[in-house]
């Protein structure tokens, strides 16, 4: 399998405080990679460096190489706005746009490129809501506010919104940590389906979740990548002591 993303010597800072030290990692195409580690270990910062959202934080900076299909996303010619359209992102807390309806939320990213007629909006909304396994629950209320949905539905709405810009990579930053177990199961199931089309990177605090859905797992600790291997190996026979302590719940 070819590597969709390859990260070389990536370091990141908030002001003068380092958040990531010299990360080297490669994610194969059409697979799920889980990023685990205790709070504050740099997991979120790492995925936010991939789509260059990290640099939008005042004072934040990074250095290193992130190759997407072999091209460095940090090279001067790359427009971060266009890059982000190739990498969808899902956040910890569902964040639908409060002024928009369900359908408008789904197409929010598409509307940037072109105007859409009402029927086009509905068509697109249907397509991506189906992809996000939310269609059946909302098909009768597409024009209700996105905020009227439950937390789990809002999160799938946000996934539909991210899918609608037709990205190649999906970055999910603890996508289920604010959801109840049933919604979590739905989101996990969805990721299992989506990995046939997308390269998915999931940050998670939930090790069972990492074990359930990912092909490979990376363990981060205090800004460093401790171990990166096949998920089965990480959870059953890790090579590093810190990894074993973490996955067996001895710290973190």
């Amino acid at each position: 399998m070819t590597d969709k993303l390859k990260v070389e010597a990536l370091s990141a800072w908030f002001g003068n405080n380092p958040a990531l030290y010299d990360i080297n990692i490669a994610m194969p195409e059409k697979s799920v990679t889980a990023i685990i580690g205790p709070s504050g270990c740099g997991k979120s910062t790492f995925v936010r460096c991939l789509n260059r959202l990290h640099e939008e934080v005042p004072g934040a900076s990074s250095r290193g190489i992130v190759l997407l299909d072999g091209e460095d996303v940090y090279s001067p010619g790359v427009d971060p706005v266009l890059l982000r359209r190739r990498m969808g992102m899902i956040f910890q807390k569902p964040n639908p746009f409060p002024t928009m309806s369900i359908a408008q939320n789904v197409v929010a990213g598409i509307l940037l490129e072109r105007r859409m007629s009402k029927s086009e909006v509905e068509e697109s909304a249907e397509k991506y809501l189906k992809l996000a396994a939310l269609w059946d629950e909302v098909k009768d209320k597409l024009h209700k506010p996105g905020m009227s949905l439950s937390g789990g539905q809002q999160q799938r709405l946000c996934i539909a919104r991210a899918l609608a810009v037709e990205p190649e990579v999906l970055l999910a930053d603890e996508p289920a940590s604010a959801l109840d177990p049933i919604s979590t199961a739905k989101v996990e199931e969805l990721f299992m389906d989506l990995k046939e089309r997308y390269t998915i990177i999931v940050v998670t605090h939930n090790m069972q979740q990492a074990a359930r859905i990912s092909d490979k797992t990376a363990f981060f600790l205090t800004g460093k990548l401790v171990e990166y291997d096949a998920t089965a190996k990480i959870f059953t026979n890790p090579s590093r002591k810190e990894t074993e302590d973490y996955v067996t719940g001895r710290f973190g």
């Binding site: 789509n51 939008e56 982000r84 964040n95 919104r161 991210a162």
Partner: protein, 283 residues
């Protein structure tokens, strides 16, 4: 647990005394407001009739007449002021909340705060120097400039506060969709904040709508119909002032009526602002 004892009793007493004190203070504030409104209502209601809203002022000694030109004039002068101050104020607030960092942004904030404390009459003097003395005559436009100077800091600070209430996660959601920052500001920040934004603007309009001092030597006054911004224009507060300092009883009655209309208009704007703020769903 020993909740009794001298310490608890004293704390409780102090608490009650303080509470009673703040309650009395609150009552005084509210009573003053109602006293003003009530007094103006009683004094002004006789002067209110259809003519007041449709007729021009009459010369001294001539019965009847109204303040139609001043009512329309106030709307025009304040409206032009809003046209100048709102775009600049909102844009400056966007800069402060979305882009501004470091020394320059904090200086802008500081200047806006100082500007907010500038006495209204000083804004009038500035407008006089900037517009009136160059044009060589009083004009509605110069009055609008004076009011715009007063509105600007209010709009900047209230808008910035409103923009700050838009959760950062929404900006990030938008940026992560590949929506550029300028568009994120328009489509997400401004739209999400629109309720509070409009409220802030209405309150700023209400605040300057009652100003007479800066208009005395800018928009001046006019006894006739005039819709031309380059000519002197009657406004309610200035007309009120002129009538109030006159020695004629029927003009005094008109002054009270004008005060009542002015209070009513400001009150309506405040109520509309409150209603608009609570109208937005999902917030």
């Amino acid at each position: 647990m020993n909740g009794g004892g001298l310490g608890y009793g004293r704390r409780k007493l102090t608490g009650h005394v303080m509470m009673a004190g703040s309650l009395v203070a609150a009552c005084i504030a509210v009573a003053l407001l109602f006293w003003i409104i009530g007094y103006v209502f009683i004094k002004g209601i006789h002067g209110i009739n259809l003519d007041f809203f449709t007729e021009l002022p009459t010369p001294v000694g001539v019965e009847g007449g109204g303040l139609a030109n001043a009512i329309v004039g106030s709307i025009i002068v304040v409206g032009m002021a809003a046209l100048m101050a709102v775009p600049v104020g909102v844009a400056a607030a966007v800069y402060l909340s979305e882009y501004g960092r470091g020394l320059f942004a904090s200086s802008v904030r500081f200047v806006a705060d100082v500007l907010a404390g500038v006495p209204a009459i000083v804004a009038g003097i500035v407008a006089y120097a900037l517009v009136v003395s160059r044009m060589g005559r009083f004009s509605a436009f110069s009055g609008s400039v004076a009011l715009a100077i007063l509105m600007l800091p209010i709009i900047i600070r209230s808008s910035e506060e409103i923009f700050k209430t838009v959760p950062n996660t929404l900006r990030e959601a938008s940026l992560a969709l590949g929506i550029p920052r300028w568009r994120t500001v328009i489509k997400v920040v401004l739209r999400t904040a629109s309720g509070g934004l409009v409220t802030g603007i209405m309150l700023a309009v209400a605040r300057v709508g009652g100003e007479a001092a800066p208009l005395l030597f800018t928009a001046f006054s006019n006894s006739f119909w005039s819709l031309r911004p380059d000519q002197p224009m009657a406004t309610l507060p200035v007309q009120l002032f002129n009538y109030a300092i006159s020695p004629y009883d029927d003009w005094h009655e008109k002054a009270w009526a004008a005060a009542l209309v002015l209070i009513f208009m400001v009150l309506m704007l405040n109520i509309a602002a409150k209603m608009y703020a609570h109208r937005r769903p999902g917030r």
